[in-house]
Symmetry: C2
Subunit: 283 residues, 2 copies
């Protein structure tokens, strides 16, 4: 059976019009939201980010592997088909710059932009390398930590085995202020070998920092996420179906929007991705 | 005399073609690079980011103030005129999503994309707010710290009064490894009241982290920068021409690209912006 994440990533490359310039053309992919990755309203944003990246990965003119991805959630997706357009805005010798948009038919029957994105892919060369943000060393093994109970209201959290180490969802919504840090182990459920698309999705598994900071439940939603990839295809293969250690925190909560920065390491301590987002919160 | 930064921000809004849809249309602005903000090759990337943001700020259909900005440097700008196209991809009740590109005529006489960007503007409401990343308290006053001597090779550094607190440029390029952290005070020179555009530019004043980390001079250049704004126009006005405290560090150096995260506080301790970039390095 096809893994649900691979089902969600399924994109159908549309034929170019006969008069189109075949080289370096914008290409259109048809896809749809997947019920296994449903959030409270619309899909889990991590899967949307992965779908945008997948359009780059599937583009016939792609050069290199993902280096940077920024996804802007302009409107909540409908549980319905969509089209992603991926355009190589510039191709250099070793880097390529992508512009993307996701379009759906809105309630009024009109095509509207729901997501915009940019991405950079790069053909990397081997150089001096170093991790300056080391994996926290004082963490219990994933096997000895408890799986985060799914809140039951959303489906996507069942698709990740998350083991809370610190900073779990508040047990009591009593307004007690704390720092916003969460540490957890995470991997796909069912197991699936890590790739760039799933790494992008896992960059968004952390619940809204404002809930942690305030022990106060308020509506929240990501407005824009950026993922930087610090790993090659070989490093992903070496990670395989292993656990990732994730850590997230906010730096500023200001008049309706907070930021969140997070890191994802594999068990060997390789920092695979650093990721940042700006998130709406109601109060 | 007009401040050089305002000269650099000068954009000439082009008339729409007579048949264009006047509402929510893409608008084109003509501008050019400014010699006072020249880098070793092409302009200082912070000013390019500010010019992209300025096209949003100048767009007649803009809603709200800057919340997020991502600028991708697809190719080194030529010291020449350019056109920026700013398009409101989606306008919601309180947020607006922007797609931008900068086009120049290349050496072969062809129009090419040199920069792509996305931005989000938002009409903020007053909510519970908090700074979780407080300004470092153990820093000397700007008046008692030494101005960073300009390396002499680039013009843009003369346009900022930067006072190094920690992690200055290595004095000896002897390969001694250190952490990548830099702290400094910064403000415009000549003085200029802070606004969103200059805050975007100051997000990019930090020299490449790889130089600090390794005490090794290697070619480096920003590929993509993201800025999150955590301040209102009132907060900018309150900051005025005061100093900003900036702090930058890398988390990963991997096969030709490192990341850099930075924070900018005003002297009152308000965290004005958090910013992230991914940077090419040669070796």
């Amino acid at each position: 059976m096809t893994h649900p994440f691979d089902q969600a990533l399924t994109l159908d490359l549309q034929a170019l019009p006969p008069d189109a310039d075949q080289a370096q053309a914008a290409r259109v992919f048809a896809g749809r939201t997947h019920p296994d990755y449903a959030n409270m309203v619309g899909p889990f944003g991590g899967v949307t980010a992965a779908q945008m990246l997948q359009a780059v990965l599937r583009h016939p003119d792609r050069l290199g592997d993902p280096l940077a991805l920024t996804v802007n959630y302009a409107a909540g997706l409908r549980d319905a088909p969509f089209r992603i357009e991926a355009r190589p805005a510039r191709t250099n010798r070793s880097t390529q710059h992508w512009t993307l948009s996701l379009v759906q038919v809105d309630e009024g029957g009109q095509e509207s932009t729901y997501v915009t994105a940019t991405a950079v892919t790069a053909a990397r060369r081997s150089t001096w390398s170093a991790v300056e943000a080391p994996m926290p060393s004082d963490v219990p093994a994933p096997e000895s930590t408890e799986r985060v109970a799914a809140p039951g209201r959303v489906r996507w959290t069942d698709r990740y085995d998350m083991r809370a180490i610190a900073g779990r969802l508040p047990m009591q919504w009593d307004g007690t202020e704390a720092d916003s840090v969460t540490r957890l182990w995470v991997r796909d459920d069912p197991l699936r070998p890590l790739d760039f698309a799933s790494l992008a999705a896992m960059s968004d598994v952390f619940f809204p920092r404002v809930w942690r900071r305030r022990a106060h439940m308020t509506p929240a939603g990501t407005v824009s996420i950026t993922v930087y990839f610090h790993v090659s295809a070989d490093g992903l293969a070496a990670t395989g179906t292993g656990w990732l250690l994730g850590q997230a925190r906010a730096q500023s909560f200001f008049n309706g929007f907070f930021d969140q920065s997070a890191e994802l390491w594999n068990e060997a301590g390789h920092l695979l991705a650093t990721t940042h987002q700006i998130v709406y919160y109601k109060e």
